[in-house]
């Protein structure tokens, strides 16, 4: 995705929104504020020149030392225009994002996995419950603070104290 075109589009549609762009290994990334991410995604999907009609993946990265703590990554592809982009946003633990499962059906399970693994909530999601882990599972395993060996790990007690589910 050509960042120059995207910058032009984004500043045109979202004047006053603070966002940043980056490019590495030929792949473009845009970071937007958490409260605007759904608007941006909707714009990217509906704009005639961008047409990001497929949401390939929704995922998160945990940075315990940073504030806000989590980085949510949306990987988009346009099947018509043949370009890709990653949209990122940051969110603090305990805060919720707006769901995009009404924009793309694939976000349904993608966001459920995000919730299951990181405990990130998505407002308006039709069925936000655990997907890969069992329903009675304690904690969010892909957080950096979750010990590798789970409940058998001596560090699990610390995890339970610092991050009650």
């Amino acid at each position: 995705m050509d960042l120059a075109i995207l910058n032009q589009k984004l500043t045109g549609a979202f004047s006053g929104m603070a966002y940043s762009t980056a490019e590495a290994c030929g792949q473009a990334t845009v970071e937007v504020p958490a409260d605007r991410v759904k608007d941006v995604l909707k714009f990217l999907r509906d704009d005639a020149d961008l047409q990001f009609d497929m949401l390939l993946d929704v995922t998160a990265v945990d940075y315990p030392a940073r504030t806000p703590r989590f980085e949510i990554v949306y990987i988009l592809v346009s099947t018509e225009r043949r370009h890709r982009i990653r949209i990122k946003t940051r969110i603090e633990d305990g805060r919720a994002l707006q769901t995009v499962s009404d924009l793309w059906r694939s976000a349904d399970w993608g966001e459920r996995e995000c919730f299951d693994m990181f405990g990130i909530r998505f407002d308006g999601h039709p069925n936000l419950k655990r997907i890969l882990n069992p329903d009675n599972f304690y904690g969010y395993p892909l957080r950096k603070t979750y010990p590798l060996r789970g409940e058998r790990d001596p560090a699990f007690l610390d995890y339970k104290e610092t991050e009650p589910a």
Binding site: C25, M54, D57, T59, D62, I75, T79, R82, S106, L132
Partner: protein, 398 residues
């Protein structure tokens, strides 16, 4: 298509648990179906029975060690997973592998794709009653596993290329083995095609069953044969060529209705195209040349150098202790796997282990559409649709 009677009340419906240990669920899939007589009204797939935390483990393993995790994802085509991982890390590091490696990997990718499709189609045919096709297909798969065994020492969990190239050169008679396989494979494909394409029973069981439109499929994140069956020519090998796919000539087969029948024959035709790609690769592949990149950041120096040279010794030591160290940054690399786009999203913090690994598995998003595909169908069609989607539990649950 006849759907269920919505006026029925709760007590008149039956809840049926299908799986997770039922043989037709191909492993560990669990479906809670609400039945109106013999038709499905609502279905809820429960997944995660094979969840092993591969992404969590990825944060605690070195880049080359993680290779062994990837072939336990889609265990029908392990080579594709391995190569996908290597491509992602190589791209993150800016390593360009020598041409011979690329050709061998392209051939392996296509052999693995044939392996994937033959199993999928064989089982799909078996599930709807065509047992012969299953045995014919499995025989061919066996030949490919033997080729992989000669190449890598393992039949299934091959963990075979390394970041930056191959761990050892292919066997001297590699080309002959692959040619011998192709010679036996074409007649089997034709025979299976003839057995099923105009077969009345097969048509009744598959045509118009579990159909999806192109728009819905894109919204669900379908990729690979399941998307192409809807008539949309979406193939990463053509659109964003990696390895040697820009140097070979092949067609992208598409279906029309996006039903089980189309998915089956798109896979059949893809096998034929894969064989075509392999033939061209065998022609163009150089017989000699380095089989790994000459870069000691990623590949161990040769033993003679390690024993006699100071620098080689240091590189050897660093690589064994620290592992491959990509620069800090992130990458998403997708590749056309058997089921669709298999993507690796890696966040590196510059150390020898990834900070975060996310595997974008094609099955996961395809399976999300399953309840919609089977609504209003009979219980027996559920199995036909499941087989045609080629849901691999290892990849689904990771």
């Amino acid at each position: 298509m006849q759907i269920t009677d919505d006026s029925l009340e709760e007590g008149q419906l039956m809840t049926l648990n299908f799986g997770p240990t039922h043989p037709a669920t191909h492993g560990t899939l669990h479906l809670i179906a609400t039945m109106d007589g013999e038709r499905i009204r609502e279905a809820e797939p429960i997944i995660g029975y094979l969840h092993r935390g591969k992404e969590k483990m990825g944060e605690h393993l070195k880049y080359n060690q993680y290779l062994t995790m990837t072939d336990r994802m889609n265990y029908l085509s392990p080579a594709l997973n391995n190569i996908g991982w290597c491509l992602a890390v190589e791209k993150l590091m800016g390593v360009d592998t020598p041409p011979r490696v690329k050709w061998v990997e392209t051939i392996s990718c296509e052999l693995a794709r044939i392996m994937d499709h033959t199993v999928c189609n064989g089982i799909n045919a078996f599930d709807v009653g065509a047992a012969t096709v299953f045995f014919y297909m499995f025989q061919q798969r066996e030949v490919i596993t033997e080729i992989f065994e000669q190449m890598t020492g393992a039949r299934l969990t091959i963990s075979w290329p390394r970041i930056g190239g191959l761990p050892y050169d292919v066997p001297p008679d590699f080309k002959d083995q692959v040619r011998a396989f192709l010679k036996g494979f074409y007649p089997v494909l034709d025979e299976c095609d003839k057995l099923l394409r105009n077969n009345r029973i097969f048509l009744d069981r598959t045509a118009g069953v579990g159909a999806i439109t192109k728009e819905r499929a894109i919204s669900y994140g379908f990729t690979g044969p399941c998307l192409r069956a809807t008539g949309f020519e979406y193939d990463l090998r053509k659109r964003e060529p990696y390895l040697c796919y820009d140097q070979v000539d092949f067609d992208v087969p598409v279906g029309t209705n996006g039903d089980v029948f189309d998915r089956f024959f798109v896979r059949m035709e893809e096998c034929r195209q894969s064989a075509r790609i392999i033939e061209q690769c065998l022609e163009k592949m150089p017989d000699t040349g380095p089989f790994a990149v000459d870069d000691y950041r990623v590949i161990l120096p040769p033993k003679e150098k390690v024993y006699n040279e100071m620098e080689a010794m240091i590189f050897h030591f660093k690589l064994v202790i620290d592992g491959v160290k990509p620069p800090a940054g992130e990458i998403y690399q997708g590749l056309e796997a058997g089921n669709g786009e298999l993507g690796f999203y890696i966040v590196s913090d510059g150390s020898g282990k990834p900070y975060r690994v996310k595997v974008r598995s094609p099955c996961f998003y395809i399976y999300a559409a399953y309840p919609e595909l089977i609504r209003g169908l009979m219980m027996s069609d559920v199995v036909a649709v499941l087989g045609s989607l080629n849901i691999i539990a290892g990849e689904l649950d990771r």
